[in-house]
Symmetry: C2
Subunit: 462 residues, 2 copies
């Protein structure tokens, strides 16, 4: 630190050496003063946590998937074709006209108060009674999850997640150096007995996981939904072992059967709940939220402030107006019908085209089918050949923190038309057939260096 009586040196000459002399210090300038050192530090000066940051396999696919000749069954982009653009255009014009001075200005770090009230109304659809004061609006629910990891996870801490789990969650967990322990699912979602087993094994090592991260409804990537009777069981187990629960529910309202699944948060007000308008309205606005207990809220708001100061007022107020002036429930119904039609197209195509030995989940909502291919096929190694055949998918390995999933594939039916979905599956089937030909002739080792799947009772392999 400088001493208060240090004289100004406004006219110090232009070289560092002269500046050093002007400092008037008796000591020698230390060794680093070679003058030749670059400003940019060497790679090893990055923080330790960057070691865990690697490009997700899905991200690498985005460039490829955007080529028009490729049918992408890889991404998770919602299909927005049903949005009423004309009425949204006048809505947003009115927002600028009437509320421009607020919409274009900084707002509260916690989010626009009116929107937080409306979010509570939305959550009521799934049985949640929340207080607007406990809602924190974030730039997509991804930001909420990232910040919750920031405020709860020290390096080396254990977090529990379904296996497979959402790739963006695994990215945040890695960024904060969490150790992910996967708990397997079956076709009814997370298996309580296996959760108990994992909790118990950790407890015997003296480890209390920081939280269980779970997607109960229309799981990404697994496409399964947690059976209702399992929900209180899972909460009981977490309570017994003192483990917090983060419930991520971006697809909950996009069911195909008309059935509403009660949120875990509706059983226990201490569950942290993540919601999003990305799939029920528009992902490009990046408006999501967390509903958290007050004790967590204050820290979460502080973390949000340091992350972005505040979420964009503009997009929040647009969502708020949309909820006020539009029949958002009907719009969600329309979206769901579109997705159901696409799900049907994908399942029909899988049944028609896929070779013997494949199995898959049949989702009742959401965006994704989880496919398991025959032994000997490595889905990550196969991907370049699939892209050459003009179909893209997400290899299962991206959805595990531990390298599992090499016999799995996530297929997205959300975005392409039913016709394109059928064509994509047809192409995938041809690639799989060729792959299996090679496996049958030369054995699995010809195609894969390390084939570890199936290793867990993933939803479709039991």
């Amino acid at each position: 630190m400088a001493s208060p009586d240090r004289p100004q040196q406004p006219d110090a000459s232009r070289t560092a050496a002269a500046a050093a002399a002007a400092a008037g210090e008796g000591h020698e300038v230390a060794a680093p003063g070679t003058g030749s050192r670059a400003l940019l530090p060497p790679t090893e000066r990055f923080a330790t946590r960057t070691a865990g940051m690697t490009a997700s396999e899905i991200r690498a696919l985005f460039a490829v998937a955007s080529r028009p000749e490729v049918v992408s069954l890889a991404g998770g982009m919602p299909n927005l074709a049903a949005l009423p653009l004309q009425s949204l255009a006048s809505e947003v014009a009115d927002l600028v006209d009437v509320d421009g001075m607020t919409a274009l200005q900084y707002g509260s770090a916690q989010g626009v108060p009116q929107l937080r009230e409306q979010i509570c109304e939305v959550m009521r659809e799934e049985g949640i009674e929340g207080d607007p004061n406990d809602v924190v609006v974030t730039v997509g629910s991804q930001m909420a999850l990232d910040l919750l990891t920031r405020i709860f996870v020290d390096p080396g801490d254990v977090v529990l997640a379904e296996g497979p789990s959402y790739v963006g969650a695994l990215g945040s967990f890695a960024a904060y150096q969490a150790r992910v322990v996967h708990v397997a699912m079956d076709e009814h979602g997370l298996v309580p007995a296996l959760l108990h087993e994992a909790l118990d094994a950790l407890d015997r090592q003296g480890i209390t996981p920081k939280f269980l991260y779970t997607i109960p409804n229309f799981h990404n990537p697994a496409g399964v939904t947690l059976a209702h009777e399992r929900r209180p069981q899972i909460l009981d187990l977490c309570r017994r072992y003192g483990v917090m629960v983060i419930e991520d529910n971006p697809y909950g309202m996009l069911g195909f059967t008309g059935e509403t699944h009660p949120a875990l948060r509706s059983y226990d007000a201490d569950v942290i709940y993540l919601g999003s308008f990305s799939k029920t309205f528009a992902s490009g606005l990046r408006v999501g939220w967390a509903l958290v207990p007050p004790l967590v809220r204050d820290r979460l708001v502080l973390a949000a402030e340091s992350a972005t100061l505040c979420p964009p007022s503009f997009t929040q107020m647009l969502v708020s107006r949309y909820l006020s002036h539009h029949d958002w429930r009907s719009q969600i119904k329309t979206f769901s019908e579109n997705y159901r039609e696409r799900r049907d197209a994908m399942i029909a195509a899988l049944e028609t085209y896929l070779p013997e030995g494949c199995s898959w989940t049949v989702p009742d909502g959401g965006f994704f089918v989880w496919l398991t291919v025959p032994e000997g096929v490595d889905t990550k190694a196969m991907l370049p050949r699939a892209v050459t055949a003009r179909v893209a998918y997400a290899s299962g390995t991206g959805f595990y923190a531990d390298g599992f999933g090499s016999r799995q594939i996530r297929l997205s039916f959300c975005y392409p038309t039913p016709e394109r979905i059928a064509e994509g599956v047809r192409r995938l089937a041809a690639v799989l057939e060729a792959e299996l030909d090679v496996v049958r002739t030369f054995g699995a080792s010809a195609r894969t260096e390390l084939n570890r799947g199936p290793q867990t009772p993933s939803p479709d392999t039991t």
Copy 2:
């Protein structure tokens, strides 16, 4: 981890004990199974880094400052009155009409390509030649700074910052457990000789700071601008000691003299540059950016992806259209004229009303005046009395990581009208007079527990 042949338990009964039994394990259920434990973890389960997260003093003021009878000289909200709302309304309606399917959809984690090109055009105004591929669009430049801290700072690492420094930067540094070493300024900005001294002292301890964080133009909160001849000196020093430079320049184009200050980035392409549309267009859109060397870019994009997946397409495309279709240079000139008028009102009021022994900076641009009050007055302790007298300000202590600044005040002239500014300063002067009366009668200790200012050659005390 579960074994692959674990049987499904879809019908496990509803209690955790039954689930445990259903797990079929021979081992005893471990001790924590009391059933009475709450789901929410005790406070001590928060991550270590949350210890450094405290509500900024400015944040606590937001609620107070919003009362209409209080003249707030505390915030940093830009004055948006000059924005052409009507033409923006039709611009944004057209955006939805024409490009709605893209604007409402997920985009690239790095930002909309066309906007990144336009950002390079904007930066060219300050002498920067940047490549759109090296621009990362973020949710305000706050997010860029937060993520750069994430990828560079391990707990305990040293970062250098001016003293005083931007409160939001100090918040991010604290969140990642950086140790901030302040380097003092004079009225010509950061003092190279003092920077040299700090670098040398750290070097003798074997410490290389991760970076120097600096705001060269119209400093927040100090209101000073780095003299041109000091710019290469500072870069030379950082090069010699292997210290990266992060240049934060949100106010650079809001000068009052017509002079353009060359960015540090214009001297050296390895400087990391942060820019923002919050002050030159609209803060409520939260569109900022970082221009970084390629080596940093890839890690920054990965970190951004884990933080928010992608910035909102909608707000980015609105900024892009604004830059394409509006005379943004004239708009910035209009903004600058408004701020100059307000700066003049504040300086005139300070000269008219403030008691003997006060001194202040006279900024050539930006939003802020840095005021030093007479010895014996503690600006943090005085704040509640000021608010009672219907004027709010930001106490200097919020702008130091180390508790200095108790004799300083940041006064914002950006938002209120010139008349309100004059009235606010008049009220502040009365509070100061009353405070000095007490000090003169009872001594400083009557009003302050710990008065440490001035401790550094802050801009106005040399």
